[in-house]
């Protein structure tokens, strides 16, 4: 038996044997677990900060005034509810029907604004004086910057140096709104390194500073906070598709990097067993290529950024670098609730390659006049595949989580390289 097999076997054995004392499940009595996944795997020094956040969060969502203020901002400032639009030209009349939940029309250009407004209100409620955040594609950074401008809070955004380069317009947007963008050079220069750096900052600054994590991954309570402050995506979409078609969709599809827009779409459908939930991961240059970010498909159980979850890791435990054409999906971990939904079979996780996503990006632009974010294009790519295999009776709900303006320069660069035959 190889060392790899032995490790797998041992970890699996300890996970399947409920009597074994070697079980992560032993600590399940702590809050913050989805089945075996989640938890609070952070340096001791950050535990009081996370517990303070947890308490403030549960108190706030029961507080009528807090939630009223949150919804007022969502509606009047950010533009909720976002429309649900049935594509007219994207699929032929013999194929499945695709409905887009237009989070790309939300202020800031992506779904990220929802939960950022919630967390900034929470930070104010806790009396924090400064916000830090990480960002991958820059969408979470932009959302954080705009919310901090609105609330008059200083904010610093950690962003991988590689991501700064491929998302220049977003760097400028953040700076324009008063945020300080700190490029992170170490490691792979992408989202995971930005998170590391934000955690290091927070370990020194937690008394005055709120760490505004932007995805459904990370330590408890973040996966829960992020889901609760994004779940209106699914709630609205459910009501809208019922109104437009008289029933629930057959599929609810979202791209998955850390998993925030997907959990926001899925949350209100989890109980609706007839709705198939599908997350779409970045297959990059192909699942076999070794250059991808398909953590749920090919990752292993591990611990990253505070959570017992699936990670892209070698057998010795080093975190591997993920890859995707879209910076927002380029993350070697995943929100723990998705691992749980996959394990219990409630959601399935497919993947789309760079090329498939780029094709979907162009197709939606050409057929519907909507330029999607490269992240959302992954969800769309899978939806297109599904539509082709189905009939007009099939209703496919896709979370169009962001708009593609930020990607234009990058995609043009790729095209130019292709023309030159590189």
């Amino acid at each position: 038996m190889s060392v790899t097999e032995q490790n797998e076997k041992q970890i699996t054995a300890s996970e399947q044997n409920p009597d074994s004392s070697n079980k992560i499940n032993d600590v399940q009595f702590n809050s913050g677990y989805f089945g075996d996944y989640g938890g609070m795997f952070v340096p001791e020094i950050l535990v009081p900060a996370l517990e303070q956040l947890e308490a403030a969060f549960y108190e706030a969502i029961e507080d009528h005034d807090f939630m009223a203020e949150f919804h007022r901002l969502l509606n009047d400032y950010a533009g909720r509810p976002t429309p649900l639009y049935e594509c007219r030209n994207l699929t032929s009349t013999s194929e499945g029907r695709i409905f887009l939940k237009r989070e790309d029309l939300l202020h800031g250009g992506a779904h990220k604004t929802n939960q950022v407004l919630g967390q900034v209100l929470l930070a104010k409620r806790m009396g924090k004086k400064r916000i830090i955040a990480e960002t991958g594609a820059g969408q979470h950074g932009v959302a954080t910057a705009l919310a901090c401008a609105l609330m008059d809070l200083p904010c610093e955004i950690y962003m991988g140096a590689k991501d700064c380069a491929r998302q220049q317009p977003n760097v400028y947007r953040m700076e324009l709104m008063g945020a300080k963008v700190i490029p992170v050079d170490n490691g792979s220069g992408t989202l995971k390194d930005a998170i590391n750096e934000a955690l290091r900052d927070w370990a020194a600054s937690y008394e005055e500073t709120h760490y505004l994590l932007g995805t459904a991954a990370g330590a408890h309570p973040f996966p829960t906070i992020v889901r609760e402050f994004h779940k209106m995506i699914g709630e609205e979409a459910k009501a809208q598709i019922k109104e437009q078609t008289g029933r629930l969709p057959d599929y609810a599809i979202a791209c998955v990097g850390g998993g925030s827009n997907a959990i926001g779409l899925f949350a209100d459908f989890i109980e609706e067993s007839e709705v198939k939930l599908v997350g779409v991961e970045p297959a990059g240059k192909g699942l076999e290529s070794g250059h991808h970010g398909a953590t749920l498909n090919l990752g292993k159980l591990g611990i990253l950024h505070g959570s017992h979850t699936k990670v892209m890791s070698d057998d010795e435990g080093q975190i591997e670098e993920s890859y995707s054409v879209s910076a927002g999906l380029d993350y070697p971990g995943i929100g723990p609730q998705h691992v749980y939904l996959q394990e219990i079979g409630r959601a399935t996780y497919e993947s789309a390659t760079d090329d498939e996503a780029l094709n979907a990006f162009k197709l939606l632009s050409q057929k519907e006049g909507i330029i999607p974010a490269l992240e959302s294009s992954h969800a769309l790519a899978y939806a297109l595949k599904l539509a082709k295999q189905s009939t007009p009776e099939t209703l496919i709900l896709v979370n169009l989580s962001g708009r593609g303006d930020k990607d234009l320069e990058y995609v043009r660069g790729l095209e130019k390289m292709k023309e030159k035959g590189e």
Binding site: N7, G39, E44, P48, K300, E316, G317
Partner: protein, 266 residues
Amino acid sequence: MSRYQSMFERCKKENTIAFIPFVMLCDPDLETSLEIIKCLVEAGADALELGIPFSDPVADGPVIQQAAIRALENKATPSRCFELLAKVRLLYPEIPIGLLLYSNLVYRRGIDTFYEECKKVGVDSVLIADVPLRETNFFDSVAAKNDIEPVHILPPLPSEQTLMKVSQSSKGYTYVLGRAGVTGADVAAKMPSEETMQQLKDYNAAPAVMGFGISKPEQVTAAKQHGFKGAISGSAVVRIIEQGLDDKRKMLSELSGFIGAMKAAT
């Protein structure tokens, strides 16, 4: 009697406290790392705190991050670190050896396998930087089965409940943080309150050792006067390695001088 107990007793008899340097295993490579560790012991280290390099060390500042990167670039793996540890133990049967690492390294190896290997090569204690008390059962129970002492961190300004739990859970020694933040020599440690020191005694905590932000002999003396039984210095040691990569002999002599001065201050 455990190696830590013997060592703390010896220090007590000598009217000193323990000086414990930290270095990253296999930094910059296995062979040099062994020479460095020998140098630390010969120069007067009472115990060793050794890191296994990890790709995403969130509790570490830039100096120790760079040490991990150097080691990983030279193909360091936990397996090679265990090889190195076995060599160190063979050379020094009595010195307490503590490991400091991150949870994914333990988890991916298989938690049982990891602690069994620790036992096999003669490791005394393990501190997992990203496993706080509320998630620790899973690891500590396996550690206990293998006679490995789990070390836990007492953060600055702890609640009484945290202090009590750390006192109960941390074996070998109690790692008392000199300040918030990540590892590094740039921001100096501050002494905890008299009350905290008294509470540690009241709760029968394992000997209190101060770490984070310790880079000068006078800080070691201050720690002793404050009632600490030991002091850990990491980034200051690793910085000497970083700056001496081009001239190994000079690096070893500087390390020796630094360790000597720190130990002399105990």
